[in-house]
């Protein structure tokens, strides 16, 4: 399965417009060469975003993974991007916890920090503050 989808609680024109703005544009998906389609969700629930990585699992993702031999599977990275986009569009912020200061991140799944506040230098390292 190389497809995934998420529903964002906003009208389609707004979602499509934000998807293309530099501040909101999901970088990984954009660079992966995936096919992205938008449709109205039923029952006034906003907009469905469908991402299809194709048979290769996305050209850039596949190559990067092959070259470095590490990194999370492409679909997991796509899901990260979609969740962050949804969070930013719906709430205006990224959900960050002490264990996952960067926000949803596939690489963090197996390398969680303990759930206790970070020191200033750790926060800077995680790109927060």
């Amino acid at each position: 399965m190389n497809r995934t989808a998420i529903t964002v609680n906003r009208p389609r024109d707004e979602v499509q417009r934000l998807w293309l703005t530099p501040e909101r544009r999901p970088e990984y998906i954009a660079e992966s060469g995936a096919t992205v389609t938008f449709s109205d969700a039923p029952g006034d629930r906003g907009t469905e975003i469908h991402v299809d990585l194709g048979d290769e699992g996305g050209r850039l993702a596949g190559t990067a993974k092959m070259l470095t031999g590490r990194g999370a599977p492409p679909l997991a990275k796509v899901k990260d991007d979609l969740r962050r986009f949804k969070q930013l569009v719906e709430t205006g912020v990224i959900s960050r916890s002490d264990a996952v200061p960067e926000g949803e991140l596939a690489e963090r799944k197996l390398k969680q920090r303990p759930a206790q506040p970070l020191e200033q230098d750790e926060l800077e390292k995680a790109g927060v503050s």
């Binding site: 959900s95 960050r96 916890s97 969680q112």
Partner: protein
């Protein structure tokens, strides 16, 4: 700051950790004045909830004073006294817009983990494993509260902490359990478990107009509290007679209760030694995570066409779930982590009007540094412990 951290099965320690900081514009920092140990914390303490990590700060029932707010928090200011609901909810997603706060789609930054366990992620929760986000909890001197513009309720009366602290979890949780029962007057309701949540489920069922409320537990002192303080009309002590289902039938003229509330969850105890041992062994060998005597009995006892309300916490899988009884008796199951935000204002109003004083469950008041002893006392039901409040 000082904080209660999980350091392995059956071990918590109070340690020095960094102070929390504002990470996003919708955060606030709260200096905690009172915090409590929840029965569901014991599931973490006992090691039944996966994805705990050494160093995790525990605690999801807390209140205190706002000491810092992010730029987009316009409803709170420094100095406000607040109670913080245990589910973290954004207020913007479809779930939040439909008052399903504990199913918030945006507040769990470990959504990928949760999705693997449950099919879909659920909300972030303070101090409650990495499956619910890996947020530091409130058994500490300070806590960072995300989406502070949505969750915390301001307390503007001079009511004691203990009268309002339980708005954070156990009072709304018990209330939701009773509300699930569709009480319109005259019903018989059975409440499995007379711990703190059970006490509030009983009190709420009485408040909503149930005629008969039956408390079930194995500790006499808890049943006494259920009868004398929460308002139970009948009690069943299953340490005396393990056949709960038959006793419930007798108490309800053979009909069975109209609705049953499971306020026990995944560490149920049982009067039948052999059955208990079998479940306990499966849990230890990790072939079953949830020990389900209470829920099984609840389903068997419920009258045909009745409601099974599950507010006790479960985490994984259970064996011998009585699907036959469930289906053939046409029962309705209602369950979930409490949508606390929905109940904050109405229940605060009940407290202000004096219709209920939630502090009746408190049996132990200790300093935060006593948390390790408090967990032991609570776990082993020593010293007639029902509810522990910690003062940082």
């Amino acid at each position: 700051m000082r904080a209660t951290v999980w350091s392995g099965r059956n071990t918590v320690q109070v340690e020095n950790v960094p102070d929390p900081k504002i990470l996003e514009e919708r955060d606030a920092i709260v200096r905690i004045s009172s915090t409590a140990i929840c029965g569901s914390d014991l599931h973490l303490y006992d090691g039944y909830v996966p994805t705990m990590k050494r160093g995790d700060i525990l605690g999801h029932e807390f209140m205190g004073e706002v000491v810092e707010v992010g730029r987009r928090v316009d409803n709170l200011k420094v100095g406000d006294r607040v109670v913080v609901p245990f589910p973290i909810a954004c207020g913007d997603c479809w779930m939040c817009k439909h008052e399903l706060w504990s199913l918030c789609e945006n507040s769990n930054p470990n959504a990928g983990l949760a999705e693997k366990m449950f099919g879909h992620p659920t909300c972030g929760i303070f101090g409650y494993s990495h499956l619910t986000g890996g947020y530091a909890g409130g058994q500490a001197e300070y806590a960072r509260v995300p989406f502070a513009d949505v969750g915390p309720i301001k307390i503007e009366d001079d009511l004691d902490d203990e009268k309002v602290l339980f708005l954070s979890d156990i009072f709304p949780t018990g209330y939701m359990g009773a509300e699930f029962c569709d009480i319109s007057g005259g019903e018989s309701i059975a409440v499995f478990g007379a711990g703190p949540v059970g006490q509030f489920a009983i009190a709420s069922a009485v408040l909503l107009g149930a005629e008969q409320v039956i408390a079930i537990d194995q500790y006499g002192y808890r049943l006494e509290m259920a009868r004398n303080r929460a308002g139970a009309t009948d009690v069943i002590d299953f340490s005396q007679d393990a056949d709960i289902v038959e006793q419930l039938k007798v108490l309800t003229g053979g009909r069975g209760p109209d609705a049953v509330i499971d306020a026990v969850g995944l560490e149920a105890a049982h009067g039948h030694g052999a059955l208990h041992a079998a479940d306990r062994m499966k849990q230890a060998s990790r072939s079953e995570t949830d020990r389900g005597h209470a829920l099984r009995d609840a389903i068997l006892a419920c009258r045909p066409g009745g409601i099974v309300s599950i507010i006790g916490v479960y985490g994984g899988l259970m064996d011998k779930f009585p699907t036959g009884a469930l289906m053939n008796k046409g029962l309705t199951i209602r369950t979930g982590q409490c949508h606390v935000h929905r109940y904050l204002k109405p229940l605060y109003e009940h407290v202000r009007e004096g219709r209920i004083d939630p502090s009746f469950v408190v049996t132990h008041r200790l300093g935060l540094d006593m948390a390790p002893d408090a967990y032991e006392t609570f776990k082993h039901k020593q010293d007639e412990c029902v509810k522990v409040v910690l003062k940082p």
